[in-house]
Amino acid sequence: MSNSHLFLPSGFLRTPLQNGLGRYIPQLQRITLKFCKNHGGSRGVRDFIESDLMEFAKTNHGTVVYLKPRRHRSPCMVAEYLNGEREYLSCHEFSRDEVHKWLSYMCTRSGIPVMRFRKYQHTDYPTVQGVWNPFTHQAPEINVAEFPHGVLSKPIDHGQTATEQLIEIFKKTQIEDPVNKPSN
């Protein structure tokens, strides 16, 4: 199956600022929860704020949490990341657990947009022994050889042909016989 029908951009695995190489820096800079204090669609968000928000803020103390009550508007959360990207999610009629789930999802993202990974690994050092070129593993004798050459013109691991194997087997049988049978 091809991926050309997807509108999703594709790319290679990357992380901002070599995150994790030295130390891990949580990439979520701040999260804003906007909700209505009255409307039913914000009930889940309100329940989350009353019960689970403090614990969330304590565990993610590198992230600033803003609460913005807005009348007559459906709830949403906006996450801002250290590389400047923002992520918007409508939380209309979410349950308390759903809000918690999506909030922890936002925490685990870096700001790099969602994309299809072309490869699940990346390296800046693709070769250690050096890229193959036609001169790799070539005998130095080719420099001064006259072609066609008795050894260098032939395939490297030639092996015995079927005819040669049969001749060898015949020769072996020849040696075993002279005691038993008279040779012609």
């Binding site: 600022l17 070599q18 800079q29 103390h61 590198g62 400047g84 923002r86 992520e87 050092y125 070539q138």
Partner: protein, 355 residues
């Protein structure tokens, strides 16, 4: 016919609210949901977008606002989160001073005096901190480079240090730890120098608050890791590799380097390739390839130097983070001891690898 029209109409009504397919998004990523919009919503939004694009083109770009102009902004909380994000403890006064620029103080005092208020501001600016931070950052970087690249001449150490402390690198680091919103400065969008100054000041503030050890680890984790993925041989190359190789071998008491053609192909064509090998007293040192004999000879000499300095493409991976635990004392020791310069370099003078 009527049924077809009705279906089309319903499709327009039950449209997706994911705007990211149709409009150009630079900042906002939307997780899409189905939505019911009236028939006039789409054309109105389209017209507004058209007018916005015209305005932006006339003004030379979209309007940008500093994050502190938003209603949801709490500077104290942002500073608290900043230090927690990095996993470091800062003195509040040091950190605030590190993030305050002279231009901001001048602007604020001018503004207050215009109003007529007696300005009793107790702002400290980050000039002194930035200078100190720059010095200790250079010291830490040099210590790391000399401890990891033990066989390398001082000129290459200096080139790597200059790359790591360049404005471009430090600006990237500063932006990605969130300094852009925290800095108090008069210019917006902030200039490169402002970012770099803030970052250096933050390093100095950290050294003041948590000690030099933590500041060293901080610089190693954030600045030195920018060396990852960089080919160090692109940062510096000796000007005359053949001459340098000859001098080094002479100083070591070995025979003069002998350059021999070992492979060639397509010598009459544009895509000619020559492989030249360097031998000293009939011992193979290295080989290099090039499109002409002179280029191949220079490349072979470069490869030989790379082998001597242990900076070939297949060199050991650089240690970062926890892998530095055992050599921190060594790094601290080498901060003030420069490596051997190229003019005096011989293998016997440099120690074997530390890690």
């Amino acid at each position: 016919m009527a049924a077809l029209w009705k279906t089309c109409h319903q499709c327009l009504r039950y449209g997706f609210s994911n705007a990211s397919i149709y409009t150009s998004i630079t900042a906002v990523n939307v997780i899409s949901k189905r939505n019911f919009k009236a028939h006039w919503v789409a054309p109105t939004l389209r017209e507004l977008q058209r007018r916005k694009v015209i305005e932006e083109d006339r003004n030379g770009g979209p309007k940008i606002f500093h994050r502190s102009t938003f209603l949801e902004w709490n500077y104290d909380a942002e500073i608290f989160a900043f230090s927690n994000r990095l996993g470091e403890k800062f003195n509040d006064s040091s950190l605030r001073a590190a993030l305050t620029h002279k231009s901001y103080i001048e602007r604020e005092t001018a503004r207050l005096s215009d109003i007529g208020v007696e300005s009793n501001l107790q702002f400290h600016d980050n000039e002194a901190l930035a200078k100190k931070g720059g010095e200790i950052m250079s010291k830490f970087i040099n210590g790391y480079l000399r401890a990891v690249f033990t066989q390398v001449p001082e000129e290459l150490i200096r080139a790597m240090h200059d790359f790591l402390t360049s404005n471009a690198t430090l600006e990237t680091v500063a932006k990605h730890i969130g300094l852009g919103d925290l800095m108090l400065c008069a210019d917006f969008p902030c200039k490169t120098e402002t970012y770099v100054k803030s970052f250096k000041a933050v390093v100095a503030a950290l050294a003041e608050s948590s000690g030099e050890e933590r500041a060293r680890i901080f610089v190693q984790d954030l600045v030195v890791t920018q060396l990852y993925g960089q080919d160090v041989n692109e940062l510096w190359n000796p000007v005359d590799p053949v001459g340098n190789l000859t001098a080094i071998l002479k100083r070591e008491g070995k025979a003069e380097p002998e350059f021999r053609l070992i492979r060639q192909a397509g010598s009459n064509s544009i895509l000619a390739v020559y492989y030249v090998g360097v031998y000293s007293d009939k011992n193979f040192i290295s080989e290099g390839a090039g499109e002409s004999l002179e280029v191949a000879k220079e490349m072979a000499a470069r490869e030989a130097l790379k082998k001597l300095f242990h900076t070939e493409d297949s060199m050991r991976a650089l240690p970062f983070g926890r892998q530095l635990k055992n050599i921190q004392s060594r790094i601290a020791q080498l901060e003030n001891q420069p490596n051997v310069p190229l003019s005096e370099w011989i293998s016997q003078k440099v120690m074997s690898a530390v890690h």
